[in-house]
Amino acid sequence: MISALSLTRYYGALKAVDAVSFTVERGEIVGFVGPNGAGKSTVLKMLSTFLLPTSGQILIDGLDAAVEPLEVRRRIGYLSGDTPLYLDMRVDGFLRFVGRARGLRGAELANHFERTVATCGLQGVLEQRVGQCSTGFRQRIGLASALIHDPPILLLDEPTHGFDPLQVMAFRQLLRQLSRQRAVLFSTHIIADVEAASDRVLIIHQGRLLAQGRLPALAASIGKPQAGLEEIFAHLVQTGAETAHA
């Protein structure tokens, strides 16, 4: 469903992303892990069509994102790392605005709204202004805005930011539930999130994809079958090894 083909992105002279390629299929949760500034957010911004790659190609559901950005956006639910919300709007007004902007109207909008509010547990804050909600609730509102049109593809940048441990556990369950019919790619620098919630891992460092694959395969590839993601990550960064498609 998501194909990134040799994505490269420059910010001026700085190469933020360097020839990154990967795919994510329907029913799969892929964790995108790397330290701050590794290029995770830039890759997600390109996949969401917010930024154009300097070179490379993005195919979403078979559609070229550079050629058909509107069709691609209809298929994507995107939560940016900054959790972009209109703080002066009421929660219900904000979600309805996003739904309308995504082409939902009348009964269809009402159904999607009810379902998303229930999924994200927002019943208690619907009449509050977004700015009055806690960080955890704001993150849930952002997630609801990414889900309201029931997209087949979810791109989530640091989705557990601001969550307490219970909310993190609930989020992992939600992610599992959502991934049944979707392709989910989420970025984080919290190793535990990736270990607990993802089927497959992409490891990025300084704009380069160091490795991708299932955790046991990655551990085996560095010669330490019992290694956790933290150890795998440290090993790859130190050796600079490129274990593509482990």
Partner: protein
């Protein structure tokens, strides 16, 4: 009929953005304060002239209006894009399945709508004049058309300038400077001074005839509704909206 359906979808998308923006204006204390100051200043200036001259004529209201719009409209338009950038909602908007032109149009129509509502706050003046005497209603209508057109132009470049920065103060100052240029370049005394500085190529007259909005506004204010004046406002406003759309498109690179 696919063209009709897509035109309808395009309009609906722009209206969704417009409705959100209008809601934000009517929810903003800054917008209310600016509107109240604008109405108080324009109203008291007119009433002062009205009591001194004792003529049933709304002309003096519209003579002062362009100078009051120089600070008022940039105060309305400064937030349109700058605030989106500062609050990071820019990314939300640009990843919705809407064209950049729909976003620009929606924001512009909302700012114009709010301005027209504020301008409608001056309607008690013509009502009062009708009650006191027999004013030329056609002339008043032409003047309102001029005020709407001039405001439309101010907001078009105000929204454009707001897209160039994340700082609302910078957006305000740049838009006010542009407004100053478009108004004062058509002012008689400025034309005289500039012509005096460059007698060979008459820079003042050239500026007034080619750039300035004031002569076109004043022509409408005399009751002459000419296509050339309306086209000036429409084309120049459209140019700034197009430039705004280009900035959004270029921002992806």
């Amino acid at each position: 009929m696919p063209e009709l359906r897509s035109a309808r979808a395009y309009g609906e998308g722009a209206l969704v953005v417009c409705a959100r923006e209008l809601g934000a204006y009517f929810d903003s204390p800054i917008a209310y304060i600016c509107a109240a100051v604008f109405l108080a200043l324009s109203g008291t200036t007119f009433m002062n002239t009205f009591f001194l001259d004792g003529v049933v004529d709304m002309g003096p209201y519209f003579e002062v209006l362009p100078f009051l719009l120089i600070p008022f409209l940039p105060a309305l338009s400064m937030r349109t894009w700058a605030e989106e950038r500062a609050q990071h909602t820019f990314e939300l908007l640009l990843t919705l399945p809407l064209r950049p032109s729909q976003l620009v149009l929606g924001k512009y129509l909302a700012a114009l709508g709010f301005y027209l509502v504020v301008l409608a706050g001056s309607l008690p003046i013509p009502l009062m004049l009708c009650w006191l005497g027999d004013p030329d209603l056609g002339l008043i209508l032409a003047n309102y058309l001029g005020a709407a057109s001039l405001g439309g132009l101010f907001l078009a470049f105000g929204v454009f300038v707001s897209c160039l920065t994340r700082n609302q103060i910078v957006a305000f100052v740049l838009a006010a400077l542009l407004g100053f240029l478009f108004v004062f370049s058509g002012h008689e005394q400025v034309i005289e001074v500039l012509d005096g500085l460059s007698p060979s190529w008459q820079a003042g007259t050239w500026l007034a005839e080619t750039v300035s909005a004031l002569p076109h506004y004043q022509a409408l204010g005399r009751g002459v509704v000419a296509l050339a004046d309306l086209a000036y406002f429409a084309l120049l406003s459209a140019f700034f909206l197009w430039a705004n759309e280009q900035v959004l498109r270029r921002g992806k690179y």
